[in-house]
């Protein structure tokens, strides 16, 4: 692995009740966050390919960690998302380099230790599935330091608790174009 990970944190959230109604089966989300050194902190660098390689490696690792934490088979994942936060000596463009070919909803920002990062979530086969529009908040009190990048992936095995605002449902997904 090219990335030197300082810290890897996994969050799992399981919702069993909402507005005093049971959520059965519970909805579950996981997020895995890696903190790595930003090799380009403090200066402008034109060629970011080193980070692109690191991003690809980390994306796979973090996705696996989420699936393991949920205790599900990879194909049982229903939605996913990703996000990155660059420490204060870094540049926002470096948060963008972990993009793969598939449409994974993403967000990024520059920030400091303890700052909240909201990872957007969308259905993995069809972006328009309304019950799976969601997000997950992660934070690490000591990250990102000025010369670090926090890279995050979130995976769920479910949509929101008690979804009831209509739109495209999971059962209607065609799964051909990634949208519907």
């Amino acid at each position: 692995m090219k990335a030197r990970i300082r810290k890897l944190t996994v969050f799992v959230e399981e919702t069993r009740r909402e507005m005093d109604r049971p959520v059965d089966p519970p909805t579950r989300k996981a997020a895995a966050v890696a903190v790595i050194r930003n090799p380009f902190a403090g200066r402008y660098v034109e060629d970011l390919s080193e980070l692109i390689e690191i991003g690809a490696e980390l994306g796979g690792l973090l996705g696996r960690r989420c699936v393991e934490a949920l205790g599900i088979a990879p194909q049982a994942a229903e939605s996913y998302g990703k996000a990155a936060m660059v420490g204060e000596d870094g540049e926002l463009e470096r948060g963008a380099v972990d993009k793969g070919a598939a449409l994974v909803p993403s967000s990024k920002k520059r920030g400091g230790p303890g700052q909240v990062l909201d990872i957007p979530l969308g259905h993995k086969d069809a972006a328009y599935v309304r019950s799976h529009f969601d997000g997950m908040e992660v934070w690490l009190n000591d990250s990102p330091r000025a010369d670090e990048i926090m890279v995050a992936v979130a995976v769920t095995d479910s949509g929101r608790p008690l979804p009831r605002i209509g739109g495209l449902t999971v059962s209607e997904v065609q799964g051909k174009d990634g949208l519907r």
Binding site: R6, K7, V10, F11, E13, R17, E137, N141
Partner: protein, 194 residues
């Protein structure tokens, strides 16, 4: 008193490989389990609340077992622990204090012969409030390498009528511990202190 009404369970596990010093092959693990439950006493002053401590015991034990599982499944690998509570704004600090006894009971029940007092903290707060849960060695509070803490919180909890209950465990000393004091290998393990 009714069984606690559980809205949400959150597990957080950190693998720490280094903090600027030598990189470990086997990371230090720090973990937390948080339960978001309804506060049965929110919105009023209730004189008699102590019975709820017994009601919290099964939940506490379940949380402690989940936490050990999340940290690798070996109770023997756990070296540090702590606990805490966040009380939603409709409650009072005393409601958070209800967690002291069942939280400690849960840790000892799951870890066996842990000797040291479980360090703890609590506060009143709104959704997203973070709590720095103190951590010390499970058998001897004075083990300096294991003085630690873990920040925990849940984005949408506690609501006004809720409690967030937290258990924290670690698998070892701070990642680059080097400030002397009582060492884990020198623990006598008689009084829970040294």
């Amino acid at each position: 008193m009714p069984e606690p009404k559980l809205r949400k369970l959150v597990t957080i596990v950190e693998d720490v490989f280094h903090e600027g010093g030598p990189v470990r092959d086997t990371p230090l693990k720090r973990g937390a389990v948080l339960a978001v439950i309804e506060n049965p006493f929110a919105g009023r002053y209730e004189a008699d609340i102590a019975g709820f401590m017994t009601d919290l015991e099964p939940l506490g034990l379940d949380m402690a077992r989940r936490l050990i599982d999340a940290l690798g499944g070996e109770a023997g690998a756990i070296e540090g622990y702590g606990k805490g509570a966040i009380v939603g704004q409709g409650g009072e600090l005393e409601h958070g204090a209800l967690w002291h006894v069942p939280g400690g009971y849960a840790m000892r029940g799951a870890l066996g012969e842990a000797k040291a007092i479980v360090p703890s903290t609590k506060k009143v707060g709104g959704p997203g409030t973070r709590l720095d849960v103190p951590v010390t060695h499970i058998n001897a509070s004075y083990v300096r390498s294991h003085f630690d803490a873990m920040e925990v919180g849940v984005a949408d909890a506690p609501r006004a009528n809720e409690l967030v209950l937290a258990l924290v465990m670690t698998t070892g000393a701070r990642i680059h511990a080097r400030i002397g004091g009582l060492k884990a290998e020198d623990v006598k393990g008689e009084d829970g202190l040294r």
